[in-house]
């Protein structure tokens, strides 16, 4: 099951992606978290930044400058080897892949065509893949990540958050992403009115609303102290609610299997 978590920057999608990874990885190790948003930092939210050695972007750049010296070596095997040994980060209960910087100048057609193949083969072996993805869905439009089964759009109470959610839905239609479902999570919602607004928005725009999450001061505090969000107290409402969402996702997976 591949789940893309997306939404306008600042809505808290990275926090949700990190918590989902955290919860699912307590049940199975067959989970890959993918940081596909250059503007956010999933490894920070998971508290594993120190383990990250290279990003996929780093390896792609290295490939661009080393390829002339490869002789008869197989370039696909070269890239695959680098990704498996240096990019995929083995954390305690899950694997993590950081897509990293965007392409530089020059032609990446060939590098990307190999990467696509390597990622396709890699991804089919995980039961769960959680992708923290920017609102432009760039990796999907470029097909570096070929598909996701579900997408979770995170919005806060802001008008911009909602309009971005709407745009993501339109974009996924234009890109023919064929998600099995598009979910919505209302995040950092502090009053009833906003909740009603989000509920109505979901209905009108045919999102399945997973939940509406409160604003949690602990998160801001953890952030301030530079600590990972997965340290959120288990007793907090936020923690319980996201755990509940993770369980819902896992139920969906069981149904599929």
């Amino acid at each position: 099951m591949i789940v893309a978590v997306t939404g306008k920057g600042g809505t808290g999608k990275t926090i949700i992606a990190a918590l989902l990874t955290h919860f699912i990885s307590q049940k199975t190790n067959s989970i890959l978290a993918v940081d596909a948003d250059p503007d956010s930092n999933l490894p920070d939210a998971l508290g594993v930044t120190k383990l990250i050695r290279k990003t996929l972007g780093d390896i792609r750049e290295l490939f661009q400058v080393s390829r002339d010296e490869m002789g008869t070596m197989n370039k696909e095997q070269w890239l695959e080897g680098k990704i498996y040994s240096e990019v995929i980060c083995e954390c305690d209960n899950y694997d993590l892949l950081v897509m990293g910087r965007p392409e530089g100048e020059g032609c990446y057609c060939y590098a990307n065509s190999i990467l696509r193949g390597v990622l396709r083969k890699l991804m089919r072996h995980y039961d769960y893949i959680i992708i923290d993805c920017e609102a432009g869905l760039e990796h999907f439009s470029r097909k570096t990540i070929e598909k996701a089964d579900y997408t979770i759009v995170v919005t806060d109470m802001s008008k911009k958050g909602l309009s971005t959610a709407k745009r993501i839905k339109e974009l996924s239609g234009e890109l023919n992403l064929n998600f099995k479902d598009i979910f919505l999570i209302g995040n950092k919602v502090t009053n009833k009115e906003a909740e009603t607004l989000i509920r109505r928005f979901a209905e009108e725009n045919k999102f399945k609303l997973l939940d509406v999450l409160p604003y949690d001061e602990n998160i801001a505090e953890l952030d301030l102290r530079g600590e990972p969000v997965i340290k959120l107290p288990e007793s907090s409402e936020y923690y319980k609610k996201v755990k509940n969402i993770a369980e819902k996702l896992m139920e969906l997976q069981v149904k599929v299997m």
Binding site: N29, Q64, R67, D68, G71, T72, M73, N74, K75, E76, Q77, W78, E80, G81, Y84, S85, I88, E90, D95, E105, G106, C107, C109, Y110, A111, S113, V118, R120, K121, L122, M123, R124, H125
Partner: protein
């Protein structure tokens, strides 16, 4: 010259296990489905090679009578003697034989070891050659995997099924550290080096097929990249070997085999098969393509190219500029301006997109004089490929440190006596293809001291041919000059300007003559 292919010698005193014949059953699944399966450190039983232990894989082609089919020799400890969680040295050597099996096929067969071993459930194979890294999962051991012999047998079975031209195959697997290291240094490395050298030697003539690349057609619909041993793709990413590997895996994919057909022009590199393919793939836009020509039916340029070549009629030479060089070239244009004019899959005479690896080619624009027609390139680019430039012209190619403008370039070329000044003789057949510079415009005669004592020109010192027949490079009239370089008239002290031009065909859209600010000048 070639390294002798023979079986390895098994030293005395090492632990040896031998097994012959097919396995009846394997305790693991075998399927392409398992490709890409990653074994996490926590799930691994043992690993081989990788960052901490030596390892290699090697295929050796041998005569049929020397190979004992489906025999495995394991030297060193086996799985049941290994400690969980540890890393061990690993060598996998395969002897293969068959009527069609030749030394040339060794690398082709060898790279399939990666594919086949990854078909094995619970077994992860990464990288190639001396870089291999293998992990065996705990799950596989739990399911009954006991010995590396089982792995070797499964791999050999896959080899014979998938590559039926392999008639006999025998394997030697080694986990003994000393022996792995010794064989890696004494046998494997020299063979890998020999193979890479052979690739450098491989020419268009040696193969029957070239490969196409249409990965870029989404940007440049009429672009047809033809990748031959002497001509890597414009983007620099794909060699003939990559094309061949890709075409074998997916014959209908973006890299397809292009049968060469008949050779129409061995020097320009024109083949009937390539022409047909180009016509078809460009939707009839182009009917002829010469792989090693700059002026005649040049290869199309997609937009992805790493370097653009540009003809400078003023010096009758070719300059090259790479993507990373932002300054204008001596013709006053930047990479991106020229690329904008040329890209999109067009055949534009006077400009040519190439990959940096093409500078290594023995046939580098050989129809038009190759390096002897090259007059300028940025220093960074020149440095990168310096060793491929023939020594006798290496210092005669200017960089931005030597010249910035066409006038300075002219001076430079004259000073170093570049072949374009006296006429380029192309090395491939010894034909003189340019006549050299004609009567000079008066100002230069005035400015320039008599040419420095003539360096022994590489050409037989023929007297300058009659300057009667204008010998412009072929197709010049078609040349689209993007921008006429500013004509810099000497800032004459008085009003008088004397301009003498002989034997020249000049197409000028617009000339602006204006008085220049007084400079130091002569």
């Amino acid at each position: 010259m070639a390294i002798e292919r023979k079986k390895i010698e098994i030293p005395e005193g090492v632990k040896v296990k031998v097994s012959v014949g097919e396995e009846k059953e394997y305790p693991f699944d075998i399927s392409p489905m398992y490709e890409g399966e990653r074994i996490r450190k926590g799930d691994m039983f043992v690993e081989f090679g990788g960052p901490s232990q030596p390892g290699f894989e090697l295929v050796i082609a041998l005569p049929k009578d020397q190979v004992e089919d489906m025999k495995v020799t394991l030297i060193g400890s086996d799985l049941d003697e290994m400690q969980e969680g540890q890393a061990y040295p690993y060598a996998m050597i395969y002897y293969v034989a068959g009527d069609m099996v030749e030394t040339d096929l060794e690398p082709v067969i060898e790279r399939r070891n990666h594919d086949f071993q990854n078909y094995i459930e619970g077994y992860m194979h990464l990288n190639q050659r001396y870089d291999i890294w293998i992990r065996i999962g705990k799950g596989a051991v739990k399911k009954g995997l006991k010995s590396l012999i089982q792995i070797a047998k499964a791999t050999m079975m896959l080899y014979k099924n998938e590559l039926p031209f392999i008639e006999k195959i025998e394997a030697v697997y080694i986990t003994d550290k000393n022996l792995v290291e010794k064989l890696l240094n004494e046998i494997a490395m020299p063979i890998y080096e020999e193979r890479d050298k052979r690739v450098e030697m491989l020419s268009d003539e040696d193969v029957e097929e070239f490969y196409s690349c249409t990965l870029c057609q989404s940007f440049a619909p009429t672009n047809v990249c033809i990748v031959s041993p002497d001509r890597p793709s414009l983007c620099g990413a794909i060699t003939w070997f990559d094309g061949r590997a890709a075409a074998r895996v997916d014959p209908e994919g973006p890299n397809r085999a292009v049968p060469k057909g008949e050779c129409i022009d061995p020097i320009g590199g024109e083949y009937t098969g390539v022409n047909e393919f180009a016509k078809e793939e460009s939707g009839g836009e182009y009917e002829r393509v010469k792989l090693h020509s700059f002026f005649e039916y040049p290869h199309t340029s997609c937009g992805c190219f790493e370097v653009i070549g540009f003809y400078m009629p003023e010096v009758d030479g070719i300059g090259w500029v790479h993507r990373g060089y932002a300054e204008p070239a001596p013709n006053g244009l930047t990479f991106s301006t020229m690329a904008g004019q040329t890209g999109g899959g067009k055949q534009v005479v006077g400009f040519l997109g190439v990959g940096i690896a093409y500078f290594r080619s023995k046939k580098f624009i050989q129809a038009d004089g190759g390096w002897y027609r090259t007059v300028w390139m940025p220093k960074e680019l020149k440095k990168r490929i310096e060793k491929y430039i023939p020594e006798d012209v290496r210092d005669k190619i200017a960089t931005e440190e030597d010249v910035k403008t066409l006038d300075e370039l002219k001076e430079f070329l004259k000073r170093v006596n570049h072949p374009v000044v006296t006429g380029v003789i192309r090395p491939v057949d010894g034909k003189k293809i340019t006549e050299g510079w004609k009567e000079e415009v008066v100002k230069e005669v005035v400015e320039e001291a008599p040419p420095a004592p003539a360096e022994a020109a590489p050409a037989p010192a023929q007297p300058q041919p009659m300057p009667m027949i204008p010998m412009m490079p072929m197709q010049m009239p078609q040349l689209q000059l993007l921008q006429i370089p500013q004509i810099q008239l000497p800032s004459a002290p008085a009003a008088g300007i004397k301009l003498i031009i002989k034997d020249a065909k000049i197409i000028i859209d617009k000339v602006v003559v204006r008085k220049e600010e007084k400079k130091g000048g002569k």
